[in-house]
Each structure stands twice: as C-alpha cells, then as structure tokens.
C-alpha cells in the first residue's frame, strides 16, 4: 500500500519526479499551480469555436448551401458537330456502362464534350476553380506525355473560349497504367444566356506514344464546376446568386421576380388596394369614434338605447309646430311648413323669376362712372338739368334772311347801315418812337368792315380818323392797311398813307390835329377802290373835295380789317366808320 505519494511531471526536466503527499488538499500548491496553467473557461462568443491548440477562431461565413455541380464525360453519346468540331456528351448523369475510350498517337485534341441543349440553363458562371478528373494511360512508359483542357461556351453559332490551362499542361506520368489525373482551370465570372451550352476540349501532347482517354464505367471523367447544386431555380429565376427587394407597386401583395431579384410588393392599403395600412390612415382610423356602448359613451333617451336600426318614439317630444309669418305651419307634431311667394302685398319667399327681374335691374348709379354728366353736372338727384334741346333751324333757332344759322362757315348779312364809332372822343392809341423804326400797329377794326363782294350797289364804307402830330424835323406818316387780321399787319395790303410834314405847322403851332377820311367803294370792274380826301386842300370851294384813288382791293374779303399804323410819334384820337353793306 502506498500512501502520501505523488508523481510530479516537470516540463523543463521532461522527467517524472516521485514525491510524497503531505497535508490536506489545500496544501498541494504545486498541483493547484499546474491546474491553473491549464486551459481556462472559454471567453469567446457563440460565433467562435476553440481550435485544437485552445485558441479561439470565428466560424467561417456561410456562402450558401449545396455542393458543386458536376458534369460527366459520357464518351459513348455523340452530340453532333458544333463549329466544325464533333462533340460527345457532357452531362450531369454519368453512364456506368461498358466504358468508352479514345486514343490519339499524335499531338492534338483527343476528344471534345458538350452539354445537352439548354444546359446548364444558367445566366452566369461564378468565378473559381473548375476541377477535371480524367483517366489516361499510355502505350508505353517514359517520355513526357501531357494534356490540357479548354472550356468553351456555345451560343448556337459560335464556340467562345472561356478558360484554358494550356500554359500548365498536366503530365501523364504513370505509363501504361490507367490512372486518374486531376487538373484545374481558373474560370473567370462569365455571363451566360439560358440557351448557352458548355463545351470541354481535351488536348494531348503524346510524346511519341499512343495516349488513351478512358471514360464511363469505372473511369468516369468528371468536371467539377463552380455552379451550385443547391438552389437551381426560385420563382422562375435561375441566377445562382439571387436577392430580395421590397416595393409598393400593384393592388395586392405580390412577388415580382426578374433577372436575379425577387421584389416583394406590398402596396399601401386603400379603397382600391389591399395592402399595408399607412401610418396616416392608422392615425385616421385610430381617431375615429370608439365603439359605441349605450349608456357608456352614448346616452340613452328615456332609458332607451339609440343604437341600432328603426325608429325611436320619444314620448313628450314635439307636439305642435307653429310658424311665424311669412312661415306657415299646418300644425301638429308633423306639420307641413310652407311660405307664400312674395308679391306687392304678400310677404314671402323671392321667386326665381323675381330674383332674375331684380338681378337684372340697374346697378347703383355713380355719376361719371356708369352714368355720364351733362356739362360736368351730375344727372343724379332731384331737380332739372337745363339742356339746350337740339337746335332746329326755324323752330327753336331763327334764320337770317332765310338762311339757317346752323353749321359752320360765315353768313353774309347785307342790307345794314349805320355808324360805328370806336373809342371816340378818347385817345385810341399813342405811339412815341424815334423816326426810322418802321411802321407800328396803332389800330385794327374789331370786326370785318367788308363782308360781301357780290353787291354792286351799296357796300360803301367811310372811315374817318383824327390824328395828332407834333412838329418835328421829319414827316409823321400814318398808314392805312387792309389786313387779314384785326391785330396784325402781317400780310396786310398797304392802301395808302398821309404825312403831316413840318410845313403843315403854322407859325407858333407845335401840335396839329388832322381828320383823315377814306372811302371804300366799288368800281365798275367789281373791285373795291379806296379813295382818300386830302385834308389840306386849300380850295375855297368847300362843297367839293378832291378824292384820289389810293388803292384797289381785288380780294376785299381776304383783307376785311381796317388797320392803321404810324412811323414815329403820333396820336390816333378816334376812328369813325360809316358803312352800308
């Protein structure tokens, strides 16, 4: 019997030490230290695992289920010729029959294989390694025979090379022994059409020997691809990598699958759409009246619930309805309420006919806006606006010598005679200026003195004026004009003039006045002749004065105003016109 003995293993010494155990268990500190040095409770996470050396490591990320899709080289099945090349079958189902071998005694393609139509029926080749397991044997050992493999796709018209390991051919090294040779091709991600087929061509460098490729039976040639054997089609999509998306199109929940994406469409619920309840509608619905519970959140009437269908007879309600004019009630609890149409003597409702009548009446008149004024006087208000009625010649406006006064133009009125004296006896105009400054306008008759050129009798005008001049060294000349204007001499006809000369002043006189008379009459050739009376005629026969013709007016109506001018200082005292026209 052995008591109190222990075995101590010391790593540094790599030897076993025997000793004795004394004391209690807590006294075995060396054993406790050794245990503390061992693997402790794991401190990792659920996504980790403990490696063999005790370290923690993460579980690898999931990359999808399923293994790789494999094709088998079925040498006994001919697929026909594609792009000038005869192909055998490459299919997912191997042929286990008697086996089919192919030989070649030169360098070249020993055999080519192609999938059936619409195989693999995928849209893409995932990038990765394709492994090829093929069985070869040679007619003799030695040499350096080898092979390499080319991967193609056939789109119906053309063979397109996808990848090849021709740069790194695999040696056929086991001589006459039929042996398995594994080679690989790095295949890039390649887009496929669903109708594309995949093809493999195997090229042999024979190195002077006859090389045999074994297929089928116990020498299954296998192509291990990067296609997945997991999900092959989902909702009609055959893309190897497929995605989910969400949307709101449509009128009901539905899944739309296109290319490699499955879109879950959940429309917003509406009167036309079955779908998700929007937060807005939720708020609306949530805000609606809660379920009515009679007596709880809706009152009763006389102890009766108002919920439900039918009529609620309420005793003690309305028993009689009356109306106040013009509203008329037939009385009772269910009266007929009526109102008569308003007329000149009845109050009531306004009929549509009367409404249209009133509506079509004149809007309120605003003077100057929708009603004109008369001579700036408003027509609104009471009273009378005196407006001269339309003048009707002979009716409310007289005629002159049977000629209407209406219209434009001038009316020649003959048969008048009289005397018109202007400013007599006061001074009409006084002009003082130096000699030689020309003619200054002194006087113009206020109205035309000649008003007709048609008469051969009458039409005589005598104009007399009193002039005053102061003695000087030169003549004071008064000029008479027949002018188109009563205020200007421009364009006026010079009819005549007379001078008061220094010799006219008697000794001792420094100022004299002279009355000068002009007579305008008609001559035998239908012109007007202006004649002047010489005030300084010294004839003793005062009964007959000498008149001299000073001017002839061929167009007296164009020059009807008598105007007088003066050439230097002088005074015009008065002008007297005697006329008959």
């Amino acid at each position: 019997m052995i008591n109190n003995l222990y075995i101590k293993a010391t790593p540094a010494a790599a030897s076993i030490t025997w000793g004795s155990i004394t004391g209690t268990l807590s006294s075995q500190t060396d054993l406790q230290n050794a245990l503390d040095a061992k693997f402790d409770d794991p401190t990792g996470t659920v996504s980790q695992y403990v490696r063999g050396d005790g370290s923690l490591a993460n579980f690898p990320a999931s990359t999808g289920g399923g293994g790789s899709l494999s094709f088998y080289l079925n040498g006994s099945v001919s697929q026909g010729t594609f792009g000038g090349v005869a192909f055998r079958e490459m299919d997912r189902t191997p042929i286990i029959g008697g086996g089919t071998d192919f030989t070649i005694a030169t360098n070249g393609y020993i055999q080519s294989f192609i999938t059936d139509a619409n195989v693999p029926n995928l849209l893409e080749i995932p990038a990765g390694n394709w492994n090829f397991e093929t069985y070869f044997s040679a007619s003799s050992s030695g040499g350096t025979p080898s092979f390499y493999i080319e991967l193609y796709k056939w789109n119906g018209t053309t063979l397109s090379l996808i990848a090849s390991n021709s740069a790194t051919p695999e040696g056929i090294t086991n001589g006459t022994v039929t042996d398995l040779y594994v080679s690989a091709i790095a295949v890039p991600q390649t887009t496929l059409a669903l109708t594309d087929r995949l093809a493999v061509r195997i090229y042999v460098n024979n190195s002077g020997r006859t090389i045999k490729l074994h297929t089928e039976n116990s020498h299954l040639g296998q192509v291990i691809t990067t296609f997945s054997t997991g999900l092959t089609a989902l909702n009609g999509l055959t893309a190897q990598v497929q995605n989910f998306a969400t949307g709101t199109t449509g009128t009901d929940f539905g899944i739309s699958s296109a290319t490699s994406t499955h879109t879950f469409n959940l429309p917003t619920a509406s009167a036309a759409n079955r779908g998700a309840l929007s937060s807005t509608d939720w708020t609306t619905f949530n805000g609606k009246q809660a379920e009515l519970v009679s007596g709880t959140n809706i009152k009763t009437i006389n102890g009766s619930s108002v919920l439900g269908s039918g009529d609620l007879v309420v005793a003690g309600g309305v028993t009689s309805v009356t109306g106040t004019a013009p509203v008329v009630s037939s009385g009772g609890a269910t009266p007929a309420i009526s109102m008569a149409a308003a007329t000149t003597s009845v109050n009531g409702y306004l009929t549509s006919t009367n409404f249209n009548t009133f509506n079509n009446k004149q809007a309120a008149l605003v003077s100057g806006t929708n009603i004109k004024t008369v001579n700036s006087t408003t027509l609104l208000g009471s009273g009378d606006v005196a407006v001269q009625p339309t003048l009707v010649s002979g009716t409310n406006i007289k005629t002159i010598n049977s000629t209407s006064l209406l219209g434009s133009g001038d009316i020649v009125v003959g048969g008048r005679s009289g005397v018109e004296v202007y400013q007599a006896p006061t001074i009409i105009n006084t002009y003082k200026a130096a000699a030689g400054t020309g003619i200054t306008f002194l006087f113009g008759s206020p109205y035309p003195l000649v008003q007709t050129a048609s008469s051969t009798t009458g039409n005589i005008m005598k104009a007399s004026a009193i002039f005053q001049a102061t003695q000087g060294t030169s003549n004071t000349r008064f000029r008479f004009y027949a002018s188109p204007s009563s205020v200007s001499l421009s364009g006026a006809l010079a009819m005549g003039f007379f001078d008061i000369t220094p010799v006219n002043f008697a000794a001792g006189l420094d100022s004299i006045c002279v009355e000068k008379t002009f007579i305008l009459t008609r001559n035998a050739v239908a012109s007007y002749v202006l004649m002047a009376l010489d005030p300084f005629d010294n004839s003793n026969d005062l009964s007959l004065r000498t008149f001299s013709t000073v001017a002839t007016l061929n167009n007296p109506l164009g020059f009807p105003y008598l105007c007088i001018g003066i050439n230097q200082s002088g005074i015009l005292h008065s002008v007297t016109v005697n006329y008959s026209r």
Binding site: G436, T437, G438, I439, Y481, S483, P484, L489, S490, G491, A492, L493, A494, M495, A551, T552, L553, N554, N555, G558, F559, N567
Partner: protein
C-alpha cells in the same frame, strides 16, 4: 407766322389767300419791315415771319430768301 413758298407764290399760315409775287421793287420800311408787290397789292411783311421755317434778322436777307 411762316411763309410756305411755291414757285412764284406763297402762303401765310392760317390765311386763305395765296400771294403771288408781282413785278415791282420791294419797299424797305425799316431794318425789319418791307412792302412786297403781290397780286393783291403792296403787302406788309416783317422779319417776325419765317420763310420755310427759317428765321432772319434783317429784312434784306428776308427779301432775298423770298425771291430766291
């Protein structure tokens, strides 16, 4: 006022008559006034009247322009 000339005749603004320049010699009344022989007789004009819109300072230039 303004004179509008037309060959040997002219018109004054606002007047219905057409003055025809007649034979004879203009009578200069002052540096600014004259009598021009016309078909109506000796007619008074001064330099306040423009000719075809042109103004004149003395009557001799005015007469020259009228007879031009």
């Amino acid at each position: 006022m303004n004179i509008t000339k037309n060959n040997n005749s002219f018109q004054l603004d606002g007047l219905p008559m057409t003055y025809t320049i007649a034979e004879g010699t203009p009578e200069i009344l002052s540096e600014t006034q004259c009598h021009i022989p016309t078909n109506f007789g000796e007619t008074f004009f001064d330099t306040s009247i423009t000719i075809e819109g042109q103004s004149f300072e003395n009557i001799e230039d005015w007469i020259t322009e009228l007879y031009k």
